[in-house]
Symmetry: C2
């Protein structure tokens, strides 16, 4: 698309296909999409594509072996032999994913022999939640926690009719990394947005039409109070027959307009949103009511487990927000319908740069869980800082709550990311933040994969480096900037898993005590002697005991707790010696100096790529690096000054602390 | 006026006059105002008023002895003998002030013998600055730092045509406490407001018309960039002939519409506002240019001295915001025209609950200074807390920078308060905040007076207690709530003059480190050993040396510095013993516990007045007390917890600290 960055689908990525002879077999809308992709590549690079023809020879065969079905059929087989590469799928989506597999392999797709390999997604639902508002919110703006301009879907009060072409381009990018579902509006459903469910469903249908050619279904965030707000009922009680009837009827009408509608996303009884508690009902009651309305149509409700007391008294040490999701939901295990998916944030708090994996995951074997991560960098630099989150997500997905399945397998209800995309020409504000979106999609398909492999894929697709020394330098240079960027960010921000040392409200930049005396349940308890939250069973809030025994034991003691989570689980003195051999206070100083040095090095590394990277992209990243460096220095100096003033312990290396 | 609180002019306050026989001699618009006041009282209470009649007898004679002149003539004489009370003035304003003097005396005005006493204001200019925006500002709202609803003058984009009746009622209240000037818009002049000077001057004229019957002149805040913004010139250089011509012409046009226009108020080169620095000119150049334009018409420019670096690096200990006004302006002494008044905030920072008096006052003998205080309670509880500021202002006004004149005398350019009034039915949001407005007016008239006398006046006028035991209980009860409220507020907020421990941005509620790592020049430098800003000459920023020698010496040493300013001038350890005999840390704990106890007591005191106070007023104050108590406890607990955690020193009395 004109004026919009091609991201990981530049024309050049289609050269290997576009220069060859391709045969496509089968029919259906997604096969048409596959054909259009190949045909456009051939038109550009001189190759040839035919459909259902008998004669050969062909370099690539893409064939539908079964009848296309809307939601299934995502698997494909890939093989190469006798000079021919073959992708076979029994569904249109599988064929499309197979095509993009070929694109990712580049020239290698047409060399040597392969397979047959079978590829199928680990999870049937790989979803992006857009926290987009239809009407600009007075505080949160068009996109809540959005750092990439306005919304792709909405602009000040209505759907972007004229820009739906861009939504199509978005769908294409998502399909190319394996995403198959999008929730089109914010989980905080305000007045205007409530109406998308009923009188404004046509606008959602238009988005669905734009995304359907890429195998992507739309979902809608709804308010639990909809029967009252929209239906004029006097209650939203999930056990009330009138309410249940209203949801059933309303949902039927949604499916009349959007036959492949994905379902609802609900944030209930959370941060001020309405929910079943008002009627003395459980969250299973609430979720099941919506599941029952969706079931006849094959839809799913995603019910968020982000329920906690956000009006906590900071003086009250008996309440621990980290415990909340487990305490609220584990007693309900087995009560949720099969199409009621409980959507759990990956950590117990809220997308901090470092959290333990939520103990809820693994603790509800009879409930379909979806795991939610945050691609939008609310707490990780807001797309002004480079922070590639692949390794963090991978750690989560490969974590094993018990001997047995990893989180990636336990997430039977899907993997969900809060989207980092807006109407910015680079999609994500910071061009390098595209890597987060891409990596999320790929990890959702294959949660046990090495995320660095996806980073390499993304770099090769996006920057299409040539097989020259310069190309190698470009590839290595971009990789060096991104690969360690999460740990770098962690180093210069809140230390050792304690989290939350951000400016209240907008969450950008340091404020060590910003959330210390707040009602949000977010404390570090730093005093002149030490810091951290005692969440042990023996002497603390008992949170550590929410884990299965092996992990509970590891987290229970400061001696066995991993360094990077120490302050999340324990209150220790500044001279406590970490497993690394350093004291806590010296670790704080060292990591903060190192973090800034690493940003300086990354900035220089990026500067050295001038001439190898498209000038507009290079300039945008350069500009962001200036801000990242300024901000990282601010973090370093505020954090170090705070702890020097509080602890009185001098830096062992005598560096400047204010 | 219907639906609006009568404040300190309830009908009952006019009973002594309204039941008597009054003669009014003289003519002119303000004499007409006096006549209308007396006639209305007589209509209500059965008395009689005549004009220029010869026959008697009369209880009260109000006579104009000279020709009324617009701006002068504010003095009056008051005497009583032979059963007759006489007020004589040579100007209409004086006669009006004399009438309100009689009102204030109540029955006593008609008993015994007096005088003759001569009354004249200490300062010719007693002014309220309204920080009202014409267009609602996206962050600051209709009234910047306003806590009493919307603006009296403006509503979302235009003058309140239909409500100008209320502006008249406002003028009447102001005249009754001695105020004679009002600036009608915010010193931060945004786009819309800039136009008041030219194409929208008619709206200002309408306000002037409503206020003129009470002897009040209007002033206008203007942007220094007006010649560019409004005049289309390419510069605003104060020495440019085109610019000077533009201002001269524009000002002439203002006076065509408002012949008694007061002049301009300017915030230049301050917190982002434009100013002469952009052209390499001095602030004297800037102010004198406007003074020259105003001079032919008898107008004055009020040039604010609030100039400092608001983008300071918190790491930079060499810059001290407290020094800024003195450093900027003292070198310019003698360069300002006589109708260019330098308007100086009473303290060196920004209206904190406790600051030393600005060293600028007294240091510019050849410049007319106006002293600015803040009636709107930006940093003193935002009209949700009771905080009567009379004693604070009185301390400022009675402070003597050197042996010789007090601040109240040195303020030859006038006394100015930022208004605390809005369109709230009680005028000031918190009904008891009316006492601040009243006290300001009275102190501006007589800066050396005992402020508690004005508090008593205000209570007697507002609550009109009867001369009964209940009346005495009412009077004593209200007085007990208000008299010590400033010191109470000081106790539970930032200690010992250090200031600034507020939530950034809106400035309500505690945040000990909220401004500690900020660019605003607002630091307390607390560490585990001690707290405070070393502003001594010997080892600090040298600020103490900006005072004349006697005070410089007092402030220079922690041994002689007054306790309440200790942390403003010195960094001391927590175990430093105050002149009071307590350690700093124990003082912090004690005052914070005491402050909350005092609020609890005041709240009970107010509750006990139910039945004696108008129910609506009683309910409003009761509701505010709930919030004040909640907030005061929050202050107590956050401040005490912060310092306990930092210092490690236990409370000597073992009270609960978190």
């Amino acid at each position: 698309m004109q004026g919009v960055d091609p991201a990981w689908l530049p024309d050049e990525a289609f050269r290997p296909i576009g220069t060859r002879r391709t045969l496509i077999r089968g029919s259906g809308p997604l096969v048409d999409t596959v054909h259009a992709e190949v045909a456009e590549a051939c038109a550009r690079f001189g190759g040839r594509v035919e459909r259902d023809a008998a004669a050969g020879p062909y370099d690539l065969v893409l064939e539908l072996t079964g009848a296309e079905s809307g939601s299934g059929g995502e698997a494909f087989t890939f093989e190469r032999g006798a000079g021919r590469t073959t992708v076979a799928a029994c569904g249109g989506p599988g064929l499309l994913y197979g095509l993009f597999h070929v694109v990712r392999l580049r020239e290698a797709a047409f060399q040597g022999s392969y397979g047959p390999e079978e590829h199928r997604p680990a999870s049937a639902l790989r979803m992006l939640d857009h926290w987009d508002n239809v009407a600009v919110h007075p505080v949160m703006g068009q996109v809540e926690r959005g750092y990439a301009g306005g919304s792709l879907f909405w602009t000040d009060g209505r759907a972007r009719g004229e820009l739906l072409g861009r939504v199509g381009a978005y769908g294409r990018l998502l399909a190319a990394c394996g995403i198959n579902a999008v929730a089109v509006n914010n989980v905080n459903v305000h007045e205007t947005e409530a109406h998308l469910l009923t009188d404004r469903i046509g606008e959602v249908a238009a988005i669905a039409d734009a995304l359907r050619p890429y195998g992507i279904r739309v979902h809608l965030s709804v308010t639990f109070a909809a029967p009252m707000v929209l239906g004029g009922l006097s209650t939203a009680d999930p056990l009330d027959e009138g309410v249940r009837g209203w949801w059933a009827e309303t949902t039927s009408r949604v499916y009349e307009v959007i036959p492949d509608f994905g379902g609802y996303v609900v944030k209930a009884d959370s941060e001020g949103q309405p929910g079943p508690f008002a009627y003395g009902r459980s969250h299973a009651d609430g979720a099941n009511m919506l599941a029952a309305a969706l079931d006849p149509h094959g839809g799913t409700v995603h019910w968020r487990a982000f329920v906690y007391n956000h009006r906590q008294d900071w003086r009250d040490r008996t309440t621990d927000r980290a415990r909340a999701a487990y305490d609220h939901f584990v007693p309900l295990d087995g009560q949720f319908f099969d199409n009621a998916v409980l959507q759990v944030k990956h950590g117990p708090m809220d997308f901090q740069v470092r959290e333990p994996v939520s103990p809820l995951i693994g603790a509800m074997p009879r409930t379909r869980l979806a795991v939610e991560v945050q691609a939008t960098q609310e707490y990780t630099g807001q797309q002004r800082h480079v922070c590639w989150l692949g390794p963090m997500w991978s750690e989560v997905l490969r974590f094993r709550p018990e001997a047995g399945a990893a989180v990636g397998e336990l997430a039977r209800g899907g993997l969900v990311a809060v989207s980092n995309v807006g109407d910015d020409p680079f999609w994500t504000g910071h061009p390098l933040a595209q890597a987060n979106l891409y990596t999320f999609g790929r990890l959702a398909w294959q949660p046990d994969a090495n995320p660095y492999r996806f980073l390499d894929e993304w770099i090769r697709l996006t920057f299409t480096p040539e097989r020259t020394e310069e190309g190698a330098r470009l590839e290595a240079g971009v990789s060096a900037v991104l690969a360690g960027s999460w740990k770098t960010y962690e180093k210069y921000t809140a230390p050792l898993g304690v989290g939350w040392m951000v400016q209240p409200g907008h969450h950008y930049g340091p404020s060590v005590d910003g959330y210390e005396y707040s009602p949000w349940g977010t404390y570090h308890f730093a005093d002149r002697d030490g810091i951290g939250v005692d969440r042990s069973v023996a002497t603390g809030t008992g949170y550590a005991g929410q884990y299965a025994p092996a992990w509970a034991k590891v987290f229970e003691s400061p001696e066995t707790c991993p360094d990077e989570l120490l302050l999340f689980f324990h209150h220790v003195s500044y001279d406590h010696v970490l497993r690394s051999g350093k004291t806590v206070i010296q670790h704080i100083y060292d990591t903060h100096f190192e973090g800034v040095e690493e940003v300086e090095k990354a900035r220089e590394g990026w500067a050295s790529l001038a001439g190898l990277v498209d000038p507009a992209r290079h300039a945008r990243v350069t500009e962001r690096f200036e801000e990242q460096l300024r901000s990282a220095r601010e973090w370093r100096d505020q954090i170090n000054s705070y702890f020097l003033r509080k602890s009185g312990v001098a830096d062992a290396h005598g560096r400047r602390i204010y």
